[in-house]
């Protein structure tokens, strides 16, 4: 509740149009639906402009359906379920018949934004095994009216593959770079472009990659200045950050 709304409400109290008691209630009425097991924040998109997400692991199908129903019951922006199995998708189909599922990214888009693209995000991956993370990001972005350019398998061991794509890389408004193993790709890309670079370490690797820790530490210590780092395998988060950037630009 911003100051304008607050002053308007207090004016109405002063003019007798709203009783003090009613005003107190309004000041405390909050924009969420309480399902007991969840407090669904129906106004978050209005507040932050970001895609809304239901993270599936650790929730029952009933809980996911309940939260989805509450969010769909109000108008809003893009709505996704991430890390979702095909079974979860089935259980949501009657609720949202037009929902789509990306098996690669394990992402359900329950509601997509309709409108002109607000920008282009290049999603660069080091290897084929990084594609699921990239696809989680891509689904999120496309549901939020962002154009996606997928630039796959340009890892640093074959530099010419990366250089061959330098035109597409330089054309993006924002870049998401996903890499496992030694996680070096964001440093290289960060040295090639002036636009914001979002680095996503992936859990691709074995042994001393320690589930993506090696790539995470590498990205945090990048010698290319100004690289944004996300949690391991967090494709959705990278997309959400890109949307923050593009929305800010559009505003």
């Amino acid at each position: 509740m911003d100051r304008v709304t607050l002053e308007t409400l207090l004016d109405a109290v002063a003019r007798g149009q709203v009783t003090p008691d009613e005003a107190a209630q309004r000041l405390e009425r909050l924009p969420f639906v309480d399902l007991h097991y969840a407090k669904v924040d129906t106004h978050r998109q209005l507040r932050t402009g970001l895609p809304e997400v239901i993270y599936a692991p650790g929730k029952t199908s009933e809980q996911i359906r309940g939260i989805a129903r509450a969010l769909l019951s109000e108008p809003g922006g893009p709505l996704l379920v991430t890390r979702a199995s095909p079974k979860v998708f089935s259980s949501l189909r009657e609720l949202a018949p037009e929902a789509t599922y990306s098996a690669l990214g394990r992402t359900i888009v329950l509601r997509a934004e309709v409108g002109a693209p607000i920008g282009t995000v290049g999603i660069v991956t080091a290897g084929t095994s990084d594609l699921p993370v990239a696809e989680e990001a891509a689904s999120t972005l496309e549901a939020a009216s962002v154009k996606v350019d997928r630039i796959a398998d340009v890892g640093v061991a074959g530099l010419h593959r990366l250089l061959a794509e330098s035109e597409r890389i330089r054309a993006a408004d924002v870049l998401i770079v996903a890499a496992g193993m030694e996680g070096a790709l964001p440093s290289l890309v960060g040295g090639m472009v002036a636009c914001p670079v979002i680095a996503v370490p992936t859990s691709v690797g074995y042994g001393s990659s320690f589930g993506g820790l090696a790539a995470l530490l590498a990205m945090l210590n990048s010698c290319a200045p100004g690289i944004a780092v996300m949690n391991i395998d967090n494709g959705f988060g990278a997309a959400a950050l890109a949307v923050r950037m593009l929305r800010a630009r559009a505003a």
Copy 2:
């Protein structure tokens, strides 16, 4: 070297204006000055639009001066030395008489950009001990024609201090949030605003903060989607990322 330059050069060869040998040399001549101990990348700013930095630790005063001289010898954008002692500052004064030093942020600005502000970055800190990191970011931003709004000591244990600043927080184009200890502040700020949020864990704390690791992990696992995370105490990096975002917007 972009494609246009390449084609122009090749046309000149085809027209006999440039000999093949000279073209080969030009194709290999690279935009740096070789000091033996350093290859100073004099074109990085032109290429990436970012402030150029000399990270002082592990370099002798002579090396720092040599690199600074090479960078100042060509026109360019903002140039800083970070983690610099007053002694390093003294040794650089004859080279750049107008250089300024922030004792709090341990930052020397050797050359600042002149021009209209390209946007406003709010720098939010959890506690007084986080100010050095914030100041490193602020020096960098101000040298790059970015307006800075410093919002200090709004840590999560006294929520009303944060809420009292919500207007200033919402007014920024980009937010940098620095916090040590449990590193919770970026999650809160991230839930309040739609603009990009850059989280900087600081090494403030003791015992199981493990030099900032606790705050770093907290920020990587933020439940507010789309938070960019930087290395521990990396105020410069946060500023560089903010500049990437604002330049992209301005472009």
Copy 3:
């Protein structure tokens, strides 16, 4: 054995009512039942006033049944089995027909305390996926005559949800706050209330949450002073600590 009992016994020896040999035996007779694979501490509740628990993992159904039988054979307070599968519950039903099972909290209550509530504990969770840990705590508390107020899904990314519940939060005698991911919620709650706050990190999260380590470190480094921290996912322990506090108050 406290000093009063000791002096009484020695008086009886001095008066010839008890032989020295018998006194020596009594001094060494200990309040447990030896099942070979377990020494069941039948007096612990009398000694510490806490709920007694059988931690199921790593024990066979036979062992669990044997320990339960020994504990039920003496009068006592609340008795629970934690981390129990439905199969374990089945195998205990003939032993304790009135036992109840919480599928969410994986907790069997074999014996509950009957009596007036000794206080109210608010159990606050950051997200829906933290509910199993909360429910383990709730089952334990309810078996020990403690009133429970469940306040779910008030994580820090939507601050208004937390503020909307501030009245219920302030009404509790003790608060248990369970959160995964960045584990920031206890810091916020700790800054809002004067009562004791017990923080339980949960293993909810992925990648660099490292099975709850990120939340654990955050809670140990809370900037709100006086937060009690428990092991990851340890809902039972949090409840036991709350009972210690409420019993001390009641005493």
Copy 4:
């Protein structure tokens, strides 16, 4: 700001005693003093009833003095500076002539509470080297009208020393147990008493104690149920938690 205050204010607006604009200002006026480098939360004690603390490391003497002056300018409860050098103490003496300094606990008490004791806290230490942490807790408690019983050097390698103090241990309302090395003492104490036990791992040890990590992990995994764990060396935090418990009891 609680609901009663809110309704009173709105009534005043409705009755024309307060203008809407003034009400909006009051609703946003916040209980802190802004020193630019710090927002001093002058109402925290009123809100949470806890001792207020200035953590000295990372702050200049000027900053500490400024924060202290702001806090002392309003009536309030106990006020301390922790991890303070004798030099910091000197710089604060003119501000608070009656301030006291504990060289062992490195704690300055700037203002102590006057009044009847609200309870007794036993502070149990495993070894002589744990005393500084114990003393930080003791100073804090004594400044908050809590009686302290110091029970030193009763580590687990000489069990009879612990058992010899069982009467004092059982007499306390709350126990703080500080131990380094293997950190086993809280488990033993926790099995002996019904009252709340607060475990503080200390950095005493070498090699694989990893600065207190061994003791911290041991305490988090205590087989005695209901042990509250604090950060390594956090004597102040343990005291603050004890005050929360005793205040709740007194309420």
Copy 5:
């Protein structure tokens, strides 16, 4: 090959009883059977007097059988397979009809030593879930003519259970103490007795026990001097160390 054997051989060469070539061969002929996938050290027991073990994980049934056959083909001392499934036991029965299997300890004794006991080892466990590790140690010891006294479930949260067994504990020649969670038991036992104490951390616990790491670190940092620490869950190793001690005593 010790010096006496060496001199005898060289004497034989000097006397012409053995040719130089044959001596060189003997000097290089080594006491093992080469199975290509394994070099079975048939003389290790003669050399070190310790039970011989085949660690089952990562080996095929064929490999285990081959190694067992080679070891059984020569006279020797106790021979075990550890971490063995019932299936491995079945596959070895024809080879060694008198072999025995401990389902709890997952240990197969292929050949046991016959002879008078060389001493008594007390195996003390903190809880019921530590019994498998204890049983691996017990099987090994019993196969090596060591008497075992099993003292179960005397964890530190109920001190009287431990004290009740102090006579049995003091009667042992060597003590093996297995504990998970906070791993405090060896410190207590180490303070009670003069004999050698072998501490075995177990992986019993969850969350921040990190698979036994908490107990391991606690035991390495024991304040009771002179505690021998083994790898996590290494019951066999503890038994082997006890045999080293008892054999040395017997020698």
Copy 6:
């Protein structure tokens, strides 16, 4: 593209044999096949002389087949799939009927080099459970015309087994030493020979071996100078390094 090729191309432009546009295209045409999900680097072997590998985990059978087909479509050197299941092998048989599969090393050789051996690599393993890693290395080497000498089960607890093989060990051009547990074998071997030693830690072990971390750290800290260390279980990498050495020698 080396300088000679570059000058030849530019000469052709200068002589009008190649148009500037065509030259620009050639300069940017890169030696890979773009499958969308992968950019197959068909010239890597020509460039680096190393065996080409498809790492199977995280790739679908379709993707593996697609990448294999692209690589087989051009002449080249050895081509392998590592960490491959028998199912993957089946799905590749029609593509490469002469492919072979090592069940122990989980390696498919799709194309082997034909030619005289370029040297001998001794593969030394500490125990039977290290053989899969050794076999991955052996398959790779044999596919690259390297002779392999397998020296198994010479771990440090039975030194005579190692010494017995000293002649074979000294005969190799390069040694690969794979060991789990304490990872001591490379230090010993490194002190015995002058040739390069490549140490491969394996994940053999349990408890505090932490999946091979103990062996990895040991090898990195070897007191024998000049030991090359690889990632945990990385048999392929060790073979690739050996090929680099032998090719350099042959060149």
Copy 7:
């Protein structure tokens, strides 16, 4: 207090020779001297037969002197101060004029045992830098009437140095093996001898030795069965364990 003493006391009560009150006091009177900052356990040596130690770090000179005085005031066995600076030694000289100081081992022997040697301990070190740890062990042993054989610098990179000392190594009753870096030496020694081997990791090394962690993990994972592991740099502890073994043998 053992059972015999207990029965004697109770008999005296029954016979009227001791009053019940006096008996209760005696039963609670404990064998320590309370210095407030320390409870000096004057009977530990009688109880456990081990050398008594004052660990200097974290204690003031006054505290060390006080504890030493209390321990010296009763007859007893060997008494040491470990990790002691020359300054601490000076401050103790008047108290114990015959005290000796080992500058290498940083150990003060305040009281040594007089009597026939109870056995021989071989102290084997991998390198010259491990000598301080070895010397701490040696001082402790010699103060406890144990003969010490120092076998220095036989690290695994020059195997012949170790083999050259095999006779001395085999002659010891117990072996202490100290090594930093990769910590391989105990595995080798453990495979050569039948007597107990005590492994002490040292903090010698750099980089990924992580202060002795690499050596510690290696020793815990030794493939030679039955190796006792101590904390990093814990020479005293190793000596104490050796004394436990030799005393048990002598008993």
Copy 8:
């Protein structure tokens, strides 16, 4: 002692030229000088062909001088002291007047090899702060008759600097690549060349670089196959490995 020597000796025994006793002594006489605190391995260079090194930290000046004297007393190859202060250098000058000291690499060369270069090693560094590690490697190599080509400051954020040196990089027989921070440079270099690449992580960086751990993990997980990894800051080790490779080639 190889087989030829062994047979020769035994022949001499058989022919009566050597007595059995003398042969036994020779078989046991080992090629080292025993200084009590060190066993100087005077034949290691003859055996392994590698430079001999004295690692200075943890050794007194007297010990270093003693070891140096012993090694210089026999003919041999290159001899160095690493991590040496100028003070150590001074103390060695009288012993070896022609010794040289590299202040940057902290390396003393006591004896250098004279002879034709055995190959060229390119030492590639990512940044100016990595030069000390590079210089330690360079001193070692030059003392061993290896030609060194220093290629400094070609980190991945400015790719053109690396590509500009591709000719020098491709000309080396072996490459040593030292990098801190994200440690990405070896992956890039490894993809560019066919020769062996030795990666040395450096401790350059801060925060989550964790003293070089980030770079170490990155290098172990390199996607370029066949990269040899060394301990953090281990320039000497990298040089020793390069010498192993070049000697093998020369053989």
